[in-house]
């Protein structure tokens, strides 16, 4: 390498040029930086100032307490209880799995649960707190709080959970609440509702009145601005700008919790339902269904094995039997049959002799009583003894459409506006109905007189719900167009009391059937004399019913199956009983259906009697009902 002078001028000249260029490039770079600073700090200053305030201040939604549901005397059927829960804010947890493991040492977190939390997190984003455990014990809650410094992003909180003090007894009336799903979010009307629904652990009504009146029960959320640091830790609460949440409206029902419990107890062990109505107001006092799930099990999401068990039980504990199960009314239909016969011109004194069966068309129609009822069966006695042959006889001269019209006027074949989802309509067969029903097979559309013989004893196509049977009984008792209701007051709005018009049936047609029902219970030889109440002021008028589930065949008889008890449970007949009381001045109507209970007189009647005994003893209609507008204000607010 040649020795060169440090004073090589050309070399120095290039360096000078390029160093100047470097200085220029650096200056340019600083201008770019300065320009960017100008953009951020001067031009877009307001935008970033707003963002900085957003960073600093969080608007917290204050979740309102859900409105209570109370019975007619103010006894809570659905209320709120304090819970200890655990929230997780994913963006603060940084390492989600580590947070799970840390929590797991105190509260077990299954892999399924973790997967669910991860899913929720993906859906709702990093910033939304997620409920990882809804109902901690005090001990767990205390330990979590103790370990909090090692649990970033974990937030223990005192929350509220729905509580159903009567448990399964009112399961089908109040329903239950459940977690918010995407569909609920998709249906929100505005942002404030969406914010409320996105509150961790927020619940919406999923069934029953909780579902129908969900919006009324939710209440109005409040808001609180808080100053938080980057870890979400609240540094300051700006209470002066706070708006308090308002608890949801109280629903006061017509249900009488005490009587509801009494009915549930009476039906215990059976797959059954009971309805009690105030025939004057239409108030549903009892709407009982057994067996029933416990809505408290649904509060934090039902456990899969319990759900499976509920779904697979032959007793259908998820079916709201009083309004959603359909049964052939059996002999409880005979009041309608008798009334239709009378309206068709058959005299109440017309009587038949019952040999136990009647030949019609090409076969025998059997009376329920083997050997028959003998002679002298007029209309009243036909009801008293529930004589099938009498009704077969009048059916021959009865038009099915007249029967159908009477049935509809007395409340069958229609839904009533109770506010409880899942009500069934049932079937009142008529010529038009059959035409529509068999729209795709014209050869089956013709109504055959033999079919009227089945319908007239409440079999065949006709189906009803226990609620419809109770309404029917109430309408027979009063002659008015009784319509049931279950919600009496919403918040401070009292629903107008019902004033029922007279039924469009000549009052003269009610006398005989009422007398028949009275005889069923109170005359010797009546099918339900065992169901009479000893207090004469409580005189009960009723009607038994047994609706066939399975016809015992000749082959069964050959195998030795003669009695219904020999049949497997699910093939036994349903037992029904309808009644009202007091006979002279009707106030309460009741229907009881015991699935596969074999006989109305034996199974349903005594249960109805006991329920009515409790109802009449208490006489809820005579007592002042609860008025939430006069009730003391409850604690309204809770920070969310």
């Amino acid at each position: 390498m040649a020795r060169i002078s440090s004073h090589d001028p050309e070399r120095q000249e290039i360096l000078t040029r390029r160093a100047t260029l470097f200085g220029g490039v650096f200056t340019l770079g600083l201008f770019v930086i300065g320009g960017r600073l100008f953009q951020l700090q001067i031009a877009e200053h307001q935008k970033y100032l707003d963002l900085a305030n957003d960073n600093q201040f969080n608007r917290r939604v204050l979740t309102p307490l859900r409105g209570e549901i109370v019975d007619r005397f103010g006894k809570p059927l659905a209320s709120n209880r304090q819970t200890f829960r655990l929230l997780l804010i994913p963006e603060q947890a940084k390492d989600l799995e580590a947070a799970f493991d840390a929590v797991h040492t105190i509260v077990p977190l299954s892999e399924e649960r973790r997967a669910r939390i991860r899913r929720q997190m993906r859906r709702r984003g990093q910033g939304t707190p997620i409920e990882i455990e809804a109902d901690l014990s005090w001990d767990e809650f205390a330990r979590i709080n103790y370990d909090l410094p090692h649990l970033p992003g974990v937030l223990p909180e005192v929350g509220e959970a729905r509580s159903y003090p009567l448990g399964n007894a009112t399961a089908f009336v109040v329903g239950y609440v459940g977690a918010v799903i995407d569909k609920d979010i998709a249906e929100v009307v505005d942002e404030s509702e969406e914010n409320l629904l996105r509150q961790p652990g927020f619940k919406v009504g999923r069934d029953g009145l909780e579902r129908t009146y969900d919006r009324e029960l939710r209440g109005v959320p409040g808001a609180l601005d808080v100053k938080v640091n980057a870890y979400g830790r609240v540094i300051e609460e700006l209470t002066e700008s706070q708006t308090s949440p308002q608890q949801g409206k109280t629903l006061a029902l017509t249900i009488d919790a005490e009587l509801q419990l009494a009915a549930m107890k009476e039906l215990e062990g059976e797959s059954a339902s009971a309805v009690v109505l105030d025939v004057v107001t239409g108030d549903v006092l009892v709407l009982a269904s057994t067996p029933a799930f416990n809505p408290n099990d649904f509060n934090f999401g039902i456990k899969p094995d319990l759900w499976k068990q509920l779904n697979e039980s032959p007793y259908h504990p998820l079916l709201n039997k009083p309004i959603a199960a359909l049964y052939p009314p059996g002999s409880t239909f005979k009041m309608i049959s008798a009334m239709a016969a009378e309206m068709s011109g058959i005299s109440t004194s017309f009587s038949v002799s019952c040999p136990g069966k009647l030949w019609y068309g090409n076969r025998f129609f059997h009376c329920w009583k083997k050997g028959g009822h003998g002679g002298g069966i007029n209309m009243k006695n036909a009801i008293k003894h529930s004589c099938d042959v009498y009704f077969y006889t009048v059916a021959k001269s009865l038009d099915i459409d007249v029967l159908a019209e009477a049935a509809r006027k007395l409340g069958l074949g229609q839904k009533f506006d109770l506010g409880i989802p899942g009500q069934k309509q049932g079937v009142v067969p008529s010529r038009d109905w059959k035409k529509a029903y068999f729209a795709h097979s014209p050869e089956n559309q013709t109504w055959f007189p033999g079919e009227t013989l089945s319908v007239i004893i409440g079999q065949g196509y006709v189906t009803t719900t226990p609620l419809q049977l109770a309404v029917m009984t109430a309408r027979i008792a009063t002659g008015k167009e009784v319509r049931p209701r279950i919600v009496r007051v919403i918040g401070d709005k009292e629903l107008p009391p019902n004033a029922f018009p007279d039924i469009d049936i000549d009052p003269k047609y009610f006398g005989t059937i009422r007398a028949g029902m009275d005889a069923v219970v109170n005359e010797p030889g009546g099918t339900a004399v065992r169901s009479a109440l000893e207090n004469p002021a409580w005189r009960l008028a009723g009607k038994t019913g047994t609706s066939q589930v399975y016809a015992i065949t000749a082959a069964d008889r050959a195998r030795g199956l003669a009695k219904p008890e020999d049949l497997p449970w699910e093939r036994r007949d349903h037992a029904l009983f309808v009644c009202y009381a007091p006979f002279d001045n009707p106030r309460y109507a009741c229907s009881v259906v015991v699935e596969h209970g074999i006989g109305g007189a034996r199974m349903a009647g005594p249960k109805a009697r006991e329920i009515m005994r409790a109802v009449l003893a208490k006489d809820p209609a005579s007592r002042e009902p609860f008025d939430p507008r006069k009730a003391p204000l409850q604690q309204q607010a809770r920070a969310g």
Binding site: M1, A2, I4, S6, D8, E10, R11, Q12, I14, L15, T16, R18, A19, T20, F22, G23, F26, T27, G29, L30, V32, I33, G34, R36, L37, F38, L40, Q41, I42, E44, H45, K47, Y48, L49, L51, A52, N55, Q56, E91, G125, Q126, G127, V228, N229, A230, Y231, I235
Partner: protein
Amino acid sequence: MAIALPGPRRDIRSTLARLHWPLIAMLSMIGAAGVLTLYSAAQGSWTPWALQHLARFGMSLGLLIVVALIGMRFWQALAYPIYAVALVALILVPIFGVERLGAQRWIDVGHFQFQPSELMKIGLVLALARYYHGLRVEQVSHLLYLIPPAIMIGAPVGLIFMQPDLGTAMMLAMTGVAIVFLAGLSWRIGFLGLLGGVGAAYAAYYFDILHQYQVERILTFLDPDRDPLGKGYHILQSKIGLGSGGLAGKGYMEGTQSELKFLPEMQTDFIFTIFGEEFGFIGAIFLLALYYMVIMTGVGIALRAKTHFARLVAMGVLVTFALYVLINCGMVMGLAPVVGVPLPLVSYGGTVMITIMVGFGLVMSAHLSREGEGGIGI
């Protein structure tokens, strides 16, 4: 070769007087801005950063003067040995290194740890300057003479890249290339080389040589707003800090972004955000003006230096310093990827401070050896 100690007392005093005191004053003001900001970042506390920073600055300033007094001839003589030591240390990192935050960058030497990559920043500048000091201008652009600098740059850059420390590797490569250009590389060859570099970068991306987090950083840089709580979070929070500061700032110790801990690593990489948030546009421009004056003063010193070696060393140091400033500022404002480059003399951190101040010691040494005035030492 004997190490030259400062001469007689009288000489030291006169030499001290000849130091470029305005430059030292500017550097001290920048260091003071660091102390001020670190005090604020700790919510008005000298610990854990401000006092330490002040002490380090004082020590480093002493080091600067010592390096300056030692004289350019000595550094010229030691240029290659220092580079060799740094290279060996870099090779030893994977063997004896200490892993921190997923990267091996540190070596334990007795009680303290040091980063060979920092030593290499000085070493490479010295070695390249020494190399070009011995070349005639027509040799600079000769392909054969390009091989040694290519190796000198490539070897440490490759080693640091594999630690992995993308930011430092890129800084080092850019500094090296800048010195080659300053030494007079023809634009034609430079352009071709640049083309090759871009190709290599593309290949690196294509063949997955970059770590996932490095790719992520670059992608996030391209659009930080697309995912405000994800990867672009830091940049966005930094922009919010600066932007909310406005013209005059929120006032000293009034920055909410830092107080509420929205800024990550605020005492190191994002210190400028705190400064800008609290002192606003006016304060930030003032700090940038200080940097500008340091660089321009430095360039003036470099161009008046006596030897080609001194000129190139001074320019190399200034390039490194300028890159720190531009990359860090660009980073906190969302103009450059977040690569972990501190703001020189303001960010908390000892090794970078030492590197910078030793570098300015060399600039100062170039100043003392400026033409016509001679230097002390050997």
